[in-house]
């Protein structure tokens, strides 16, 4: 909820700045919320940069207030589009330290800087072990080394580490086309099999969306909610139940 507050506050600040633009925003360019999504100083990579990103994992390390939205543009993906066949232009919500999700799923520790998902792995970069070495099938040694990873997903589907990870650089995702994607662009990998989910995700019927129904959209990536190694959401205790019977008034 704290996250929601901050978000609201930010939204207000941004809207104050662009209030006149916002009022007539209806039907205008989708990019006019860019200031909202991307904080000053945060990277606003253009298409070319994104293309580059998908090949080389760049470390983004700009300090922004915690809980701010960081976005990277989604790379164009063939076969599926956003609503109304418009080119898929949504932005990705990246690893967000103070978000409800990260707290609840406990996968991301609290940080004060804005990082992309790839950068979230900074504490344990895969490359610190997998230095150019080809990864192998999961065996006992692998399991010992990755106690925090329960490899439900690859095993159930008969996959191995290298089904998804680039064999020579675990921090990159290997697509069937031979392309490579950074961990920011997990949807490109996931969509290869989960195409109907990907389509719904792009269109707005799957996955959490943040910020707005108007203008530029901010989506959470696949791996923001689903642990790629164990994709089912974990059960949890819900927020408190309603009291069906009214609490009897006692007056002041």
């Amino acid at each position: 909820m704290r996250f929601g507050r901050v978000l609201t506050a930010l939204a207000c600040v941004a809207l104050l700045g662009t209030s006149s633009a916002c009022r007539e925003r209806e039907g205008t360019a989708k990019g006019d919320r860019a200031e909202l999504g991307t904080q000053p100083g945060a990277p606003v990579p253009d298409a070319a940069r994104a293309q580059q990103d998908s090949v080389v994992a760049t470390r983004v390390d700009t300090a922004v207030s915690p809980g701010a939205l960081g976005t990277v543009p989604a790379a164009p993906v063939d076969l599926w589009h956003g609503p109304g066949d418009r080119p898929f232009e949504v932005a990705l919500r990246t690893g967000d330290p103070a978000s409800a999700m990260s707290r609840r799923f406990g996968r991301i520790t609290l940080r004060t800087s804005l990082r992309t998902r790839a950068a979230d792995l900074g504490q344990y970069p895969c490359t610190s072990c997998h230095l150019g070495r080809r990864i192998v099938l999961a065996d006992d040694r692998v399991a010992d080394a990755h106690q925090n990873i329960t490899v439900v997903h690859p095993q159930q589907t008969g996959g191995t580490c290298s089904t998804c990870h680039a064999a020579d650089n675990v921090e990159l995702l290997a697509l069937k086309s031979g392309e490579r994607a950074t961990l920011d662009h997990t949807y490109r990998l996931c969509a290869q099999c989960h195409f109907s989910q990907a389509e719904a995700w792009a269109a707005g019927a799957h996955g959490k969306r943040l910020d707005g129904w108007q203008g530029r959209r901010v989506l959470m990536g696949c791996a923001d909610c689903h642990d790629p190694h164990q994709p089912a959401l974990e059960p949890r205790i819900p927020f408190r139940a309603p009291r069906i019977e009214r609490i009897r008034g006692s007056g002041k």
């Binding site: 069906i244 019977e245 009214r246 009897r248 008034g249 006692s250 007056g251 002041k252």
Partner: protein, 429 residues
């Protein structure tokens, strides 16, 4: 010209009486004070002090309201034969019935006022300075018809009594058209109140075409039953003679209406239970309870037992003609319909909620206090009205300014005693 003595006489009539009368009025005043205190609590702390909640958002207040609208409407059933069909038997009963209507309406309006969460915003209803959502909202209709009916029921008896008081024969051309309007109006107040509930598809318990007719039938049962009780009491306590014929006719009306009411109830039950759809779930709660929630079950069966037994009793001619049986039967009908059309009609509309949640309703002490206070208020008003009307009807009091030379045109007083015209209005008894 006669207004001042009329008011003075009225005050005099209303405030003088024997010890039993004063005890009765004192008792009512006490209950009203308790009710006023309870209402002050409600004003101070909000409706939270009642037993109502987001699920059962109308309770005892609106239950009494729907019942009393019927009582008010039913009074007019006696007016029709008396004034328009010139049924002499009813002549004397009619003013009493109109007093019942006024008292019932006063209670109705009081129950609506205490049920409202923001009574200070009441001016929002007033066309001109506020906004009355008429004709779309049935509640706006109800506001109009209830106040109109109250005005009619105050104006017509006032005109008749005032004419008699000032020694004139009431001019039929002046009041008979209003009588016609009032009779139709009586049907309308009850239908509008029924439509207020029946027009809500959200509440299948009420959303039935039979609700309006059922309202009328039950009103024409409880109303005359109550008038019988009142007339019986008046006959016993005063010199105002009400003929056996009036009782017989009232009892007949009551009986027929009670039969129709039972038929309609049976029809409703058949519809709800023969092929139990989801729309019958509220009725199931009312009659049999749901998942262990059965607060209303004893009430409704009591009501049905009372109504059925009383109706059957009234169908037997010797029983109906014998006051020893007629009076308890009427009382039973009155109570039975009060339950059936009050709590038994309003509360089950809310249980279970449209989303299937079951929250039962129990009125709080404050609510009971306010309700008792309003009933006391109604009885108080009724007593005063009857008390004012009787001596005038009996010819016991007259305006002191009547020109005796022109007295030939006036109605001969029904009392055997000749009227006395002193300077002050005079009570002959």
């Amino acid at each position: 010209m006669h207004l001042k003595p009329f008011v003075l006489t009225a005050l005099d009539s209303a405030t003088s009486g024997g010890r039993r009368y004063h005890v009765w009025m004192g008792g009512l005043t006490l209950i009203m004070l308790v009710g006023a205190y309870a209402y002050s609590l409600q004003l101070r702390y909000g409706l939270g002090v009642t037993g109502m909640n987001d699920h059962v958002s109308w309770g005892l207040y609106i239950s009494n309201f729907t019942f009393l609208v019927g009582l008010a409407a039913a009074a007019m059933m006696l007016v029709l034969p008396a004034y328009i069909l010139k049924d002499v038997d009813f002549g004397r009963a009619v003013l009493m019935a109109e007093a019942v209507a006024v008292a019932a309406l006063v209670m109705c309006l009081a129950f609506v006022v205490v049920d409202i969460g923001n009574p200070l915003g009441g001016w929002h209803l007033m066309p001109g300075i506020g906004f009355l959502n008429w004709p779309r909202s049935l509640l706006a209709w109800d506001v109009l018809v209830l106040n109109g009916y109250l005005a009619l029921n105050l104006a017509i008896p006032f005109y008749i009594l005032y004419s008699r008081f000032s020694g004139r024969q009431p001019d039929k051309r002046k009041y008979i058209p209003w009588m016609y309007i009032a009779v139709m109006w009586a049907v309308s107040i009850h239908l509008v109140t029924a439509f207020l509930l029946a027009g809500l598809p959200a509440r299948p318990f009420w959303n039935t075409a039979l609700l309006g007719p059922r309202f009328l039938a039950s009103a024409f049962t409880a109303g005359p039953a109550f008038v019988i009780l009142l007339l019986w009491f008046i006959r016993r306590e005063t010199e105002y003679k009400i003929s056996e014929g009036a009782f017989a006719k009232l009892a007949l009306i009551t009986t027929v209406a009670a039969q129709i009411n039972l038929v309609m109830l049976g029809s409703e039950l058949f519809y709800k239970f023969y092929s139990p759809t989801h729309h019958g779930i509220n009725a199931r709660y009312l009659f049999f309870g749901l998942d262990g929630h059965n607060a209303l079950v004893p009430w409704i069966w009591t009501a049905i037992a009372l109504s059925t037994v009383a109706t059957i009793a009234l169908m037997i001619h010797p029983v109906r003609r014998n006051p020893r049986w007629l009076i308890p039967a009427c009382a039973a009908l009155f109570v039975g319909i009060w339950i059936e059309k009050g709590i038994g009609l309003v509360v089950p509309g809310f249980v279970p909620s449209p989303l299937g949640e079951i929250v039962e309703y129990t009125p709080s002490l404050v609510e009971l206090g306010v309700t008792a206070g309003i009933w006391a208020l109604g009885m108080f008003v009724l007593t005063v009205l009857v008390r004012v009307a009787l001596p005038i009807e009996l010819g016991d009091v007259r305006s002191p300014y009547i020109d005796e030379r022109r007295v030939t045109t006036i109605v001969r007083p029904r009392s055997s005693r000749p009227p006395r015209a002193d300077v002050r209005p005079v009570r002959t008894r």
